[in-house]
């Protein structure tokens, strides 16, 4: 902005810097800064070409600055920008606040009410689930106990049967023991066997009839 401001003032362009090169044209003592000839233009040469010998003594000076004006202008700009940014921040905050309010206002009482009702229903559902679960666990326990009992019973019965079996065997053995041959009745039994010869021979014919009455030799 500042260079533009500079160029607007009629006497501000330094004449010695311009007069030799361009010439003010129609206004000899007074060169309006906005003059096409005063602006740098490339024209014939590229940027890599060296400047002409006639320009060897040319001294390029920066645009002159009036210090008081500079201060005044800078101060004014500072204030302007300060005010504008403050306004922008203010409006931004207002919009944000409005949005927040709208959002909060949307969550009205009835929605909260609805929410509470749904939470209560959820609690009920959980309660029912709990009841079902307890029921199930109880049933499971019952089942287990019953099974255990059954197993124990079966075991007991098996044990009993086994014992009975063994008892019977023992009795049978005892019975048979009466007929055993011991050292005492050895002689008597031998005598007995010799006295009563037993005939184990038999005859069988093709029809399967057994004949036990054979001759013992």
């Amino acid at each position: 902005m500042l260079p533009a401001l500079r160029r607007c003032r009629p006497g501000s362009v330094p004449l010695p810097a311009l007069a030799a090169a361009l010439g003010p044209g129609p206004f000899p003592g007074l060169c309006p800064a906005w003059c096409p000839r005063a602006l740098p233009a490339r024209g014939r040469k590229t940027r890599h070409d060296p400047p002409a010998k006639s320009k060897a003594a040319r001294v390029k000076l920066p645009p002159p600055v009036d210090p008081e004006e500079l201060l005044v202008v800078l101060e004014r700009y500072r204030q302007h920008r300060l005010v504008l940014s403050a306004l922008r921040a203010e409006f931004r905050a207002e919009v944000l606040q409005k949005k927040q309010e709208e959002r909060l206002a949307a969550e009205e009482e009835e929605e909260l009410e609805e929410h509470r009702r749904l939470m209560a229903w959820n609690e009920e559902e959980n309660g029912r689930q709990r009841a079902r679960r307890e029921e199930r666990l109880r049933k499971q326990e019952e089942e287990e106990r019953r099974k255990k009992l059954e197993i124990a019973e079966k075991q007991a019965r098996k044990m009993e049967a086994f014992l009975e079996e063994k008892e019977k065997e023992v009795l049978q053995l005892q019975e048979e023991a009466k007929n055993f041959i011991t050292l005492e009745n050895l002689e008597a039994r031998i005598e007995e066997c010799l006295d009563n010869p037993r005939n184990y021979n038999f005859a069988i014919d093709k029809d399967g009839r057994i004949v036990k009455r054979t001759v013992l030799t």
């Binding site: 749904l118 939470m119 229903w121 959820n122 559902e125 959980n126 689930q129 709990r130 079902r132 679960r133 199930r136």
Partner: protein, 171 residues
């Protein structure tokens, strides 16, 4: 591109967009505790396998966490933004029942969804023309039945400016 996974249909957009559980804006985190074995967690497992992708697709800003084999019975827990925690017991439930339950207690109702849809529609006008990002069409030449784009099909002579100017000059 081969199909990936046991049920690749879960990865399709059509399947994902069929999810109808849209959480209320107060729900922030959803946690699922379930077991990888056992009859009781069967429904929870199915829920995690089939329905959670749908839910996450519809609620991209809700954090979903899965915990396996940490508790004897499966449950869901929702953490709302006002600090409230909602516990949902899902033992012995099918995944359909679980989704229904969740939709009932914490999902947006159909009317709410429709209302939001209408609000969103109001913001943009479908009849305006402009960049594809904000409008449906950019130029009239895109519409069927209208004059096609001269970049693709040259305009007939009579519609061109140079012809009309030439005729006027002749006359």
């Amino acid at each position: 591109m081969p199909m990936k996974g046991r049920f690749p249909v879960r990865r399709t957009l059509q399947y994902l967009s069929q999810g109808d559980v849209v959480f209320k804006s107060s729900v922030k985190v959803m946690t699922v505790n379930y077991n990888t074995a056992g009859e009781l967690s069967e429904g929870a497992r199915k829920f995690v396998f089939f329905n959670i992708p749908q839910i996450q697709y519809k609620n991209p800003w809700v954090q979903i966490m899965l915990f396996r084999n940490m508790t004897p019975s499966p449950f869901l827990r929702f953490y709302l933004d006002n600090g409230e925690q909602v516990l949902v017991d899902v033992e012995n439930k099918t995944n359909k029942e679980i989704t229904e339950h969740v939709k009932k207690i914490l999902g947006k109702s159909k009317e709410m969804l429709e209302k939001e849809e209408r609000e969103r529609k109001k913001l943009s006008h479908p009849a305006t023309f402009g960049p594809k990002k904000y409008h449906l069409r950019e130029c009239m030449c895109e519409i069927e039945g209208q004059v096609p784009c001269p970049a693709v099909v040259p305009l007939p002579k009579e519609m061109r400016g140079k012809y009309k100017a030439a005729m006027k000059n002749e006359a």
